[in-house]
Amino acid sequence: MSDQTFEPVLLRRWGKPDSQSLESYKADGGYKALQKALSMSNTEVIDVVKASGLRGRGGAGFPTGLKWTFLPKDVTGPIYLCINGDESEPGTFNNRVLIEEDPHQVLEGIVISSYATRATTAYFYLRYEYGRCYRALKKAIDEMYANNLLGKNILGSEYSLDIYLHRGACAYICGEETGLIESLEGKRAWPRIKPPFPAIEGAFRRPTVVNNVETMACIPHIVERGAEWFMSMGVPKDPNNPRDAGSYGPKLYCISGHVNKPGLVELPMGVTARELIDKHAGGVWKGRKAKAVVPGGISMGFMTEKELDTPLDFNGPGRVGCLGLGTAAVIVIDDHTSMVDVLYNACRFFAHESCGQCTPCREGTAWSTKILERIRDGRGKLSDIDLLMEIASSIGTIPGSTICGLADGAAWPMKNAITKFRGEFEEYIKSGRKSESRQLAGAH
């Protein structure tokens, strides 16, 4: 249940005049957390983050503090922190808003996290499309250097750090952490085999932590206000599931698609999709009903209208057969839309973005797109449905047939669409009709 009195944390400065500047950030209490962190030992900072239950906001939901502890204890030589600002999951734009509106909040989180992980260089990998973010960050970083918030002996401490912006070049796979590292190193962004994991051997074959932008934005607040404060929000651990790490803290939810008011809202973890749509996005547009809803970016699959009361925490979407919470980007699809067109769009996306390294993903995503193209052209066969299902259940890290999770993301929309809307696919194929949507075929 969402809290009516919830005070935004990450978006608290959204819309304020001059919200990007160091001056205004400081006026709102900015960089106090950094000051506090620098007065603590780095392990104390890690302990607070660990205790807060913060889980990565990039999609996988891995506990952030735990990830930091995977770094080897006795490292000689550099450790790197990479910031994953390659946000490209369809439906997702929370990092864009965070950076555009309040770059210092993110950067303060980066400095604290670098301090905690003993990184002396942080690479901020930012997708190319976010030009405004790039310029905001550039300006903010310059301000930080000028004010002893970066560079040598930050705020008079022993700690020194450089942050470098690194622009991407339009490839979804750079959001996969080892794809990001390869791209940073100047190579094609082919995700690496693991082990070794980045904590042991990451960027430039050095111990590396890769963290998401929103995760970074949470850090100053956790350091300043404590783990308990963070855990007071969201959904506690499921006592019946020992492996559940809980879903704590505030979360940015992106809402797009067929709603009256698409946008970004910050709420405690665990709001339901229905509440998001009805309360925060003005309901489904044109007075229609939702047919399907993507819970957290297209790779998470689809919920049906009946499943909309699912809480969007780390566990909710999985309980209704979706891949997970993902990026908490909710895409609403109304009941006038063909799921064949929707699935085609998803498949085409993954075929376009498959890095092409693993055979099952490279060929499977392209093949499924071709099959859906044919169905949309009125030349589908009923056996295509099972073939799509077979492809979907054979590709990905979950069966073990690929190096990274892109193929799982490609598989889930197929699995969910076919399982939950099979009748629609059968009817479509039997009718032999052609799609009315103007989606361009072939361009993937």
């Binding site: 499309e129 030009g131 405004r132 070049a169 698609g257």
Partner: protein, 158 residues
């Protein structure tokens, strides 16, 4: 004559100090060259390769992966616009917008208008789903676009 401008060389040199490997400067180098020239020529790739101590094939390997960079055979127009076609934009007319612009300008996605002014690209999610259908003009996002708005905006550009 060097194919790389003095500025490009300076940017590349400046970046060398940021990474422990020279190869890591590949993307920054490609970005600065394309920004200046609208493409990265074979000679430019060779010169970048020389500075970064790589083979030109390694530069092109990386460059071709991203789809963002253009070779000299296929340079960009003065303005590059991208229309998003991923699901949130498709649900709100992104595909129709792209098709409409193709019709109006008589080009296919990836092509440049005959006057060399506009290169029209299709994009996968641009990260502005709150303003679907959205458009990227060079590297600035514009939200909730119609074909008329696109034309007005692009015409107004130098």
């Amino acid at each position: 004559m060097s194919e790389l401008s003095e500025n490009a060389k300076k940017v590349i040199t400046d970046h060398l100090g940021r990474y422990p490997s020279k190869q890591a400067v590949t993307l920054p180098a490609l970005h600065v060259v394309q920004e200046e020239r609208g493409c990265v020529s074979n000679r430019a790739m060779q010169e970048i390769a020389e500075i970064l101590e790589l083979s030109p094939a390694q530069i092109h390997d990386t460059m071709s992966f991203y789809g963002f960079f253009r070779t000299e055979k296929d340079p960009l127009g003065k303005v590059r616009i991208w229309i998003c076609r991923s699901l949130p934009c498709m649900l709100r007319g992104g595909e129709e917008l792209l098709a409409e612009l193709c019709d109006r300008w008589g080009i296919q996605p990836g092509e440049t208008t005959a006057d060399g002014k506009i290169t029209l690209e299709l994009a996968e999610c641009l990260g502005a789903c709150d303003g679907a259908p959205c458009m990227l003009v060079n590297d600035e996002l514009s939200l909730c676009m119609t074909a008329d708005q696109v034309e007005n905006q692009v015409r107004g550009m130098p």
